[in-house]
Amino acid sequence: MIFSFDLLFEAVLFGVLLGCFYAAVSIGLSVSFGLLDVPHVAHPALMVLGSYCTFIVAGWGLDPIVAGVVLMPVFFVLGVLIYRFYYETFEKRGTEAGVRGLAFFFGLAFIIEVGLILVFGVDQRTVQAPYIGSSLALGEYRLPYRMLVAFGVALCLTVVLTLYLSKTFTGRAIKAVAQDEPALRLMGANPVRIKQWAFGIATGVSALAGAMLIIVGPVEPALDRLYIGRTFCVVVLAGLGSMTGTLGAGLILGISESIVLMMFGASWAPAVAFGLLLVVLGIRPQGLFGR
């Protein structure tokens, strides 16, 4: 084990970039699971689907980020449809929605994953862009541009979503439905419509998150399994449904993963997110920045 403050600083720096990226890929889940209480285990699978769609659209000559933005409305509609289906089949009937709802999303994740394998094969896919492959030299440290781009987009996404949820009428309605659904119903609003809208936004955001995923590194269909740990770790650590908390939790995960990567090597890195998740669930299930 090699240890020096220089290396540590570099690891923390990289961890901050990585952490913002993790926050961005988790923020959709923070809405769908954190605010709406939908057991959305298929979130990472939808995100990887977003990566592959970005791969196709970017193949037409678009910049991957633009491709991700273009895909957002499509994914929004997809999300609305998924929620509508989930509501009609499980939430509305009420009884034992827990086990079956979980099984439904778990099955959905597998269908998406295998669908991607059948269409694209198990090979890794990448996209081309001017900022992929080169890095910014900052004194003696080198920061890859692809991480910086993901960092920037992630930060924008988090800020926009936080503002949307706290300043706009619909955003506040989404928060209200998370707090007290019967009360919202008494105010004359339709909670199902609002949840549908919110789930659409969460899924739309995963399209952009998927675009960043394929910018940051090569993507393969089974990547969603690893991201179950990362996204749920961030959302639970953040405290369900807290947007600023998501950013903080992403940073914690990013920095710890980056430090473990430096000190113990890549083979231990996947366990960091899952280990952290287990510790948080065991000690403080309400998260650090709870609502």
């Binding site: 699971f33 057991p39 285990v41 089949t89 034992e96 827990g98 086990v99 079956r100 979980l102 099984a103 439904f104 778990f106 099955g107 959905l108 994740a109 597998f110 269908i111 994953e113 295998v114 669908g115 394998i117 059948l118 399994r225 690893l226 179950i228 740990g229 749920f232 639970v236 083979s267 231990w268 996947p270 366990a271 899952f274 280990g275 998740l277 287990l278 669930l281 065991g282 299930p285």
Partner: protein, 310 residues
Amino acid sequence: MKYWISVAVLLIVAFAAALSGVNEYFFYAGYIVLTFVVLATAWNILGGYAGYVNFGTGAFFGFGSYAAVVLFKALGAPLIVQIAAGAAIGAALGFGVGIMTLRLRGIFFAIATVAILFIAETLMVNWRYVGGATGLQLLRPEATAPFGSYTRMLFVVMTLLAVIAVSVARYIQTSWIGRGLRAIRDSEEAAECSGVPTLRLKLIACVVSGALMGAAGAPMPMYLSFIEPASSFSLNWGVSALAMPMIGGTGHWIGPVIGALLLGSVQQIVTVTISNEINVLVVGVLLVLFVVLAPDGVIGLFKRWTRSSR
């Protein structure tokens, strides 16, 4: 009584088949289907009776396999000891998971089991003694006396394990344990208030379920003559072990058996005739279809059918 007679007949048939001249492939495929019977039955004890969804079947299964490999490599332990070790480590992990149910329910519990699965895989990837990420080739010992090949022997062993698993699940379902677990599934607070010892029951369910999964994993390295972390700790074990009871019906011990025989056989046919990827797709699609359209599985369909035809 009828149950035990059919069990005895089943065991005799399996034993006779293993000694007869039936094609080797039958045992090769049958072994996997029987493994699924054990896994689905074990999953159902916790997931179906008590309503705690476990995605981490692979963790129990994989640890069972690795316990067997370590004992085999270090001491050359015989199969029966390997299976006992697999069951023991599965039970120990089950106990840990049972403690977790104190604080975690629903999706939080489910996600925690995924976490355990990946941590287990990472541990084994980094353990050199068992071959790390690349895995380990194993030299199978000679098959014992009456059996013509090792696969045939494993088939009979797995039949026995499946019978044990199903009998245990059947006992749990009809005894006070099953009643308590059902009470927990319907409302844990109400059960606790009515004096049901919820923690003890959940611990029993977790330990039994874990031990059976561990035991099911133990003969796997010998079956493949090989072990590696990625497939031992695959999430695919989890989705199959969850899908089979869901398809068969979770309320009754026969449900997981029906589901495993049905889905397991379809999987074997699909793997041979089409491809390995399609077989996971079949699991996913059937799981979603059944969860949406037939919430009580094949058993529920059957009940509805007999009621309407009367």
